[in-house]
């Protein structure tokens, strides 16, 4: 393996630490009592985590966020992959127009659809439900566009070979395209998951019941729980933030090795 120059290494390390410093600082802060934080000392405690999970129901919020983000990721990636396959591989009447429409949705700011979505779901009686949180997010034009471009890069001869082997279009998608597009699908899934995990506005609009709060809503509400007049309990907020951060970090580490693997090598000469 090539040895890097020590100066380059030191610079990279310094840059890494710089980027990590806010996260590290919040983690350190989360183990401190509010008193010691405002006094200027450091008293170690796990109480902030106990409070966040026990008193402020962060375990419930975490569960809600996991359910909502996972469902959105699964459904939107599922639909986007199928749409991408159709746009990439089949010529059908109106196909170009439909693809244009999908791309056009990327230009609509998400906040514009907030009120129409709210009214639609209110009429359907889906506000204050998981369905209300999940449904508006499962059509993802960007994912369809991104995956379509990736699938177009997979040699069409592989589809044709599978058809000759006796595959139906769905089999071709599932057995040939999906495994080969795995790096793109996983990247997009991670992106969708993180976007949904960090989504604040829509859950705020669509959810009134505390049982259905997601982490972001719960986190925002913590600002109102002051240890003293005019003061915010920052160590508690940081403990809750750390709880919010960890699943995404774990998800990234889990998926990361798949993201970098070039899998189509050797497909065709």
């Amino acid at each position: 393996m090539k040895r890097e120059h020590p100066l380059k290494l030191a610079l990279a390390l310094a840059a890494g630490l710089l980027f990590l410093s806010p996260a590290l600082y919040s983690i350190v802060l989360s183990f401190q009592t509010a008193d010691s934080y405002y006094r200027g000392g450091f008293d170690f405690t796990l109480g902030n985590y106990r409070n966040a999970v026990g008193f402020y129901h962060f375990a419930r919020y975490l569960l809600n966020s996991v359910i909502v983000s996972s469902l959105v990721t699964l459904l939107s990636i599922g639909f986007s992959t199928m749409a991408a396959f159709a746009f990439a591989r089949f010529r059908f009447r109106g196909g170009d127009f439909l693809f244009g429409a999908v791309v056009a949705t990327l230009m609509i700011p998400s906040h514009i659809s907030l009120i129409p979505n709210y009214l639609t779901l209110a009429k359907a009686g889906l506000l204050d439900s998981y369905a209300g949180l999940v449904l508006p997010a499962i059509s993802n034009g960007f994912a369809a566009f991104f995956l379509r471009q990736y699938i177009r890069g997979i040699p069409k001869a592989l589809d044709e070979a599978a058809y000759m082997d006796g595959a139906t279009p769905l089999k071709v998608l599932w057995r040939v395209i999906v495994p080969l597009a795995r790096p793109a699908i996983l990247s997009m899934a991670l992106y969708v998951f993180i976007t949904e995990w960090n989504n604040y506005i829509w859950p705020l609009v669509a959810i009134g019941k505390e049982d259905l709060y997601t982490l972001q809503i719960g986190l925002a509400r913590l600002y109102h729980n002051n240890p003293g007049e005019g003061l915010i309990d920052w160590p508690l907020v940081m403990a809750a933030s750390t709880l919010t951060l960890l699943p995404v970090l774990a998800g990234f580490l889990l998926v990361e090795r798949h993201l970098v693997r070039g899998i189509t090598m050797g497909a065709v000469k």
Partner: protein, 339 residues
């Protein structure tokens, strides 16, 4: 085994010119047919139409006595070997070979046993657990053949399967394909632009040019009695010489026509022999094993001749090229059709 009949097949792509102009062919069960022609002549398109990967606008594709135009590729009982092999890169060799069987519902143990048997035939046993990326070009080509063989289809379509291999491997694989055809007895339709492959493999050759079928006959018939000047020039290495008949002495019936003489039909000698001959100056010579290819200037134009290397003395430029009228072919100067 099933025969294939093509009736007046026409095909064009949207916004493009017509690719195939009314192709009709009758292929007997078990025949080895080679479709040959220059790049862009429509031979691969014709193969894809038979496979069902594309649809024709007009004409009938009849497989095993049944019209197959509307059948999906998977319902035609046809296996195909692609030019770039199209192996599934995420599957092992075993899975690649067995994939078609899996799709037909064969149990895992059974299909793997079949894949191993096929791999044994193709000497791929040692590579069964490897992915295509870890194989050489020749091994990938074998896997592609194995994938087609595993399904025991009655018809194999091969789209320039040897074009990505080096010369030595190509010659070896050619023999193997011929041997395989003998063993399986299946109908094979093989597309190539390599006339040597066509002549050495085929029971019958279909020569295509610009989407038209020029001739469909046995290799020897096509070589000895080409339908026109294009076919005569396309098959044979070095290609046939075409000379203006008026310029050739002692060639009855040649006046006003084009005379075709294969290089091996010309006898190069340093002394003028009895009978018809042309004085020639060697401008370039190529050694091809036991023979030399001589490129000569003659009063009738540029001519290529073959001569045994042992008869050829380096440094001598002036030769006589003898020929027999009986070995010459005559083509109409305008249409190029053989007279």
């Amino acid at each position: 085994m099933s025969g294939i009949s093509l009736r007046n097949i026409r095909k064009s792509y949207p916004g493009g010119p017509q690719v195939l102009h009314g192709i009709s062919l009758d292929i007997e069960p078990g025949e080895f047919i080679v479709i040959v022609g220059p790049s862009g002549c429509g031979k691969s398109t014709l193969l894809r139409l038979i496979a069902g990967l594309e649809a024709c606008e007009e004409g009938d594709i009849i497989i095993g006595g049944k019209r197959a135009n509307d059948l999906a590729p998977q319902d035609r009982d046809i296996a195909m070997i692609f030019q770039n092999y199209a192996l599934y890169p995420h599957m092992s060799v075993r899975e690649n070979i067995a994939f078609g069987l899996e799709l037909r519902g064969m149990k895992k143990a059974e299909r793997h046993a079949r894949a191993e048997a096929v791999a044994k035939t193709l000497q791929l046993e040692a590579y069964l657990d490897r992915k295509p990326g870890a194989l050489s070009g020749g091994q990938r080509q074998r896997v592609a053949m194995g994938r087609a063989m595993a399904r025991s289809s009655s018809t194999f379509l091969m789209d320039e399967p040897l074009s990505n291999l080096d010369n030595a491997l190509r010659v070896a694989m050619r023999t193997e394909i011929k041997e395989l055809h003998r063993q399986l007895g299946a109908t094979i339709i093989y597309v190539t632009h390599d006339q040597t492959e066509a002549l050495s493999l085929a029971d019958r050759i279909a020569v295509l040019k610009d989407g038209h079928l020029l001739q469909f006959d046995t290799p020897s018939a096509i070589y000895d009695r080409p339908a026109n000047r294009f076919v005569a020039g396309f098959l044979g290495t070095p290609p046939m010489n075409f000379l203006a008949g008026d310029q050739l002495p002692d060639m009855p019936g040649a006046a006003g026509n084009i005379v075709g003489l294969r290089p091996e039909a010309l006898r190069a000698s340093f002394t003028r022999e009895a009978g018809a001959s042309l004085p020639a100056k060697i401008v370039l010579s190529e050694m091809v094993g036991a023979d030399m290819i001589l490129h000569c200037e003659t009063p009738a134009g540029r001519v290529t001749a073959m001569a045994p290397r042992r008869d050829f003395t380096a440094g001598q430029e002036q030769v006589w090229l003898g020929y027999d009228a009986a070995q010459a072919l005559f083509f109409e100067a305008g249409t190029g059709a053989r007279i």
